[in-house]
């Protein structure tokens, strides 16, 4: 599993726990974490922890980021 696939898995696990029918197939489109994926502040906090555990990077350290593309940029993957 490459890094993007790992990130996709982390995001989909979180999204599907809230919206069982929602899954993002890949990162070809840019998704807004709150508007498109319906994540609230607690979900965003959980997402940062899951990403940090996997990649050792706190993507939200310098402010909240809004989209999947921004996460990919921060992780440089």
């Amino acid at each position: 599993m490459n890094k993007k696939e790992k990130l996709l898995k982390i995001i989909n696990e979180l999204v599907s726990s809230k919206h069982p029918n929602l899954i993002i197939p890949n990162f070809n489109d840019n998704y807004d974490l709150r508007k498109d994926l319906g994540l609230d502040s607690f979900d965003l906090a959980e997402l940062t922890v899951n990403i940090e555990d996997e990649f050792n990077i706190d993507v939200f350290e310098n402010g909240i980021i809004g989209t999947t593309n921004e996460i990919i940029e921060k992780l440089v993957i």
Binding site: S17, K35, S41, L44, A45, E46, V49, G63, I64, I65
Partner: protein, 406 residues
């Protein structure tokens, strides 16, 4: 008359005149309020104050489990009122409120695991309310829970000056920013988590002249970002507690005890201690109340300090206090859990996120984490549920024999 509440919901009370009309037509008062309709909540709260009836605020999302310890007699008894009150002048209504003898009950996370009751008089709740011509054109952003002390005090400040209240509680970033622009809001008060979720933000909001940050520890990064978004605003950190409400504020992380409180607030062993005359201490018999908030002196001679942590084990999750022992007790009752440790982990979104380390009774059994989350969902408010679970072989015990939480 001016707008009372600006919100995305349909309202039967839109203006302060509507509010006065509704008060004069009141036939009964719900003195125990645990629903989400904020207009009805405030109408009943003000009604209770006018009729000198005791009033209880409770979060609408508390579970039956969390309510177990709260006396059932308290629950939902609408009180019929026969005498009508007609206020022709707003000042008369405010004067009546200020002199009300109602006892106002709020709940906060207790150190023993059950919600702790704090009983205020309206006089302690309105102590910091300023009624002044300077506020004539103010519009207030309402970001706090209406059943918590910060929300109640903000309501009383706006209401006393007949200022429009703009409902921003639990609204998303786009809605908040659009509403701020549209309504030309002047005052906004919220937790660091509320403000962090507005970032990154490319708009400027020049109408806002006062930004207040409270409920959690703030930081320079946040204040810097806010000064770009709100270029004309004075940005203040405020120290408040459920027991005392808002006590002092500062434009930096450093606080001084204000002159009016110099004999009523003291620092002992680096802990903030409050005199019982300034807390909602009805039924509290000790002379001094220990807040559990620990400080570090910046300049002791000048009385300048910053608040660094809590003495007890409360965890602040996005402005909500969580007692980890309460959560541990509940998780321990779940199948196949041998031991558990709940703690806060620093987090860029919420300040701290709730984490649980779990030791299983048997590693041979597959642990159903989804089932645990559902079990917790049925028992606890969402902010009390650990968002991350780590499985451990054992939990470290400190020198005192107590579990090490940090």
């Amino acid at each position: 008359m001016d707008s009372f509440l600006i919100t995305d919901k349909d309202l039967f009370v839109k203006t302060y005149q509507d509010f006065l009309d509704a008060i004069s037509e009141m036939e009964n008062v719900d003195v125990f309020y645990d629903k989400t309709d904020v207009t009805k909540l405030w109408l009943n709260f003000v009604g209770a104050l006018i009729y000198n009836l005791d009033f209880t605020f409770l979060d609408a999302n508390l579970s039956e489990y969390e309510l177990e310890d709260i006396n059932q007699v308290d629950r939902y008894i609408p009180i019929e009122v026969s005498k009508k009150f007609f206020f022709t002048k707003w000042d008369d209504l405010i004067e009546r409120l200020k002199n009300s003898s109602s006892k106002i009950t709020l709940f906060t996370s207790g150190t023993t695991g059950q919600p702790k009751r704090v009983i205020h008089s309206i006089q302690t709740l309105m102590r910091q309310v300023r009624i002044d011509s300077r506020f004539v054109n103010s519009k207030w952003g309402f970001t706090y829970s209406p059943t918590h002390i910060a929300g109640i005090q903000l309501f009383l400040q706006a209401f006393s000056n007949m200022n429009p209240i703009v409902d921003l509680f639990e609204k998303n970033k786009d809605y908040v920013l659009l509403t701020l622009l549209k309504t030309q809001l002047t005052h906004i008060s919220g937790t660091p988590t509320f403000y962090r979720l507005l970032m990154p933000c490319n708009v400027e909001l020049p109408s806002v002249i006062r930004v207040t940050i409270g409920g959690e520890k703030s930081n320079y990064l946040l204040v810097n970002s806010l000064s770009t978004v709100f270029p004309n605003a004075r940005i203040n950190n405020v120290y408040a507690s459920t027991e005392a409400g808002s006590l002092f504020s500062s434009s930096s992380n450093g606080f001084n005890i204000p002159e009016i409180f110099k004999d009523l607030i003291k620092i002992e062993d680096n802990e903030i201690i409050l005199h019982n005359s300034i807390i909602g201490g009805i039924g509290f018999n000790e002379e001094w109340f220990q807040t559990g908030d620990l400080i570090k002196w910046i300049n002791e001679k000048e009385g300048l300090f910053e608040i660094i942590s809590r003495k007890n084990e409360m965890i602040n999750v996005g402005g909500n206090k969580v007692n980890p022992i309460e959560i541990e007790d509940i998780i321990l009752k779940f199948e196949n859990v041998k031991n558990v440790l709940v703690y806060g982990r620093p987090n860029a979104v919420l300040g701290q996120i709730l984490v649980a380390d779990i030791v299983l009774l048997s590693t041979q059994i597959t642990f159903d984490e989804k089932k645990l989350k559902k079990y917790l969902n049925d028992k606890l408010q969402p902010f009390k549920i650990p968002r991350k679970i780590y499985y451990k072989e054992n939990i470290e015990v400190g020198k005192t024999g107590k579990i090490k939480r940090i």
